[in-house]
Symmetry: C2
Subunit: 376 residues, 2 copies
């Protein structure tokens, strides 16, 4: 009957207009420019980049970051994510998080047969559990001690608590002490450069002193990792961090759009490459339009999306399947398409099964969100 | 090697403790009691119930609601959702939303070969497009005119605009005018009974007058539908609505937990049956515990989750993969499991691939979220 099924939102070759909405689309030109911008930065600065796959959960994008973007490997946050990426051929994976569950620890140890597997720890009993599993599977799990450099989340204190845990790892069979995880997550979205620098300066100082203490104890760090898309220039300039972990730089989002540079202008190193394509589905009231993008295609934890390239329109609020757009000039008509810049890219990508890769106004590829649903 | 894979979070027969977390779990006893409570209510009041599958997107749950819960059919919000449910054997589906996209309209028309298919309209040109597609496929699409009874979203005004659109449907080949969609969404979560009644009274009045006008024009309504889990008693008491559309009643959530009855007490018709099972993954700071449930397993649009049965603990905030819990007595230890009541059930279920059905402390079933990712 000639109608393309709705099990997928689009097919390569389709015009943009024919994508079933709401859909998550990537502007491939902008995405590729973002990857190239960071590649040039790490090359010029002689620092490694371990691309954070928590942003996209896509094997296609992870491979592109490693093959074209100079990434030395990937980070992810969950063992089941790592499994999906390793199964798709990624061979160097840091689970930049604690792994506590016995079944997940067993899988982590088993995966180390097929890939370099690194994990973060902040607890001595957890070190014992990891060691036991690695011995059982006859593998080596590399461990980073996570320092809480100010996020108030996971991680031990810098200095003595960190060196004690590092020493325990170094003495544990099946484990290798590989360095430090020192990610300052709460600095990434601080809007002013002064705020970001103040937080990262504290982190750098703690890391520098801890590395010196570890060196004195004969515990060198292969990886001193951290840094996100909002702060990576600062960690790089420290000369103590040696591995960046940027994720959002490939896509950007509305909240990153509010991050300013040292001159108080919007930071412009990366471009918006990720959008929710939406259709006006109801236009019955003056000054308002209802679109088909609600809470089931985006996370609004960091505020609503921004309508791309349409300063005359404001996305006001959304319910499960509807978005309410302020359209004061009544410029929108039923069926019109809009591109929304998601408020927060990572948890928005996490909801979708596919990225629709678009070049110009034509669909070029359909990339599955490989590790979708893999939250554990 | 004996380790159950991480492609699924659990297997039937497993103890609760072994579920890979974070996972979405259903307390099957509570779920079944909720379904039975509403069945008794509709039986006693002689009103139909078209269960809203937007809440759960699950064919297993939809079948249970029809076979055991007295539901006459289901609602859903998207054509691709309807496709997934019809393919799973559900034969009476209302897409309680506008369908604008040409490809989606074609699928809607085609699906009417295999099931009773009903859709909402609020635009005359959309009626023409639906009529054309139904004629092409040789099917009948039933149409409800959506009245905006106060939600400020989709829908035409009650009275003359509604009767005009109904008349146009009745005269369109391939379509059947089947009644009214009059759902007052913004009333559902109003916390006081007085607020809810004030809003629903307005809706009832508009519906009653419009139905009288339609009757006078020889346009009887087979379906006069609306009502959610927060207001269904009011629409039922009106004697003008004849089809309820409750969804959340099967699960409840933290925001529904703040809805009060006429005496100012928490409304107690339904119980919490849906939880996020989470594990304490880091405990390095006094007064705090970090759990593994963040933004990638829940929607926080209606606020954070509530820790079930633990008034001493408060879920403070979350980032992508972490939840920060206030634990003033330091009662939690690494590896402890907690049940979280999601802030908002529908967009939380939408993120997960599976429901883990639990009876007591044993996993009984694994239900796929059949229409997951079907946002279009």
């Amino acid at each position: 009957m000639g109608v393309v099924g709705l099990d997928i939102p689009a097919e390569p070759g389709m015009p943009l207009e024919d994508i079933a909405t709401p859909a998550l689309i990537i502007d491939l030109d902008a995405f590729e420019r973002n990857v190239e911008t960071l590649r040039q930065f790490i090359t010029a600065n002689g620092i490694r980049h371990r691309a954070h796959a928590k942003t996209h959960k896509s094997a296609d994008i992870a491979r592109y970051q490693m093959e074209k973007g100079g990434a030395c490997g990937v980070c992810c946050q969950k063992v089941s994510e790592a499994q999906a990426l390793i199964a798709a051929g990624i061979k160097d994976v840091l689970v930049s998080n604690q792994v506590i569950d016995k079944r997940q620890i067993a899988h982590l140890a088993e995966m180390a047969r097929d890939a370099r597997v690194i994990v973060c720890v902040d607890d001595a009993a957890n070190v014992d559990a990891l060691s036991e599993a690695a011995q059982k599977f006859g593998t080596t799990i590399e461990c980073l001690v996570e320092i809480d450099v100010g996020s108030g989340r996971c991680g031990v204190e810098w200095g003595a608590p960190t060196t004690a845990l590092a020493g325990k790892i170094a003495q544990s069979r099946g484990l290798k002490f590989s360095g430090l995880q020192a990610y300052q997550g709460s600095a990434q979205h601080k809007h002013t450069a002064v705020e970001r620098k103040a937080l990262i300066d504290v982190a750098i100082d703690q890391v520098r002193q801890t590395v010196a203490m570890l060196d004195a104890e004969g515990l060198p760090c292969d990886i001193i990792g951290g840094a996100g898309s909002g702060s990576y220039e600062l960690e790089t300039a420290s000369s103590i961090y040696n591995e960046l972990q940027c994720g959002s730089y490939i896509f950007m989002d509305a909240d990153y759009g509010r991050v300013l540079d040292g001159n108080g202008k919007p930071k412009s190193d990366f471009e918006n490459a990720l959008f929710i394509l939406t259709t006006v589905m109801s236009k019955t009231k003056p000054g308002l339009a209802i679109c088909d993008a609600g809470l089931k295609v985006q996370s609004v934890d960091s505020g609503p999306p921004v309508v791309f390239d349409r300063e005359d329109l404001e996305f006001m609020k959304c319910s499960d399947e509807h978005g309410v757009i302020n359209d004061p000039a009544d410029s929108l008509a039923l069926g019109d398409k809009l591109k929304l810049i998601p408020g927060h890219c990572d948890p928005t990508c996490n909801i979708h099964d596919y990225y629709v890769g678009v070049r110009g106004d034509v669909v070029e590829c359909l990339w599955p969100v490989t590790a979708r649903g893999r939250a554990y």
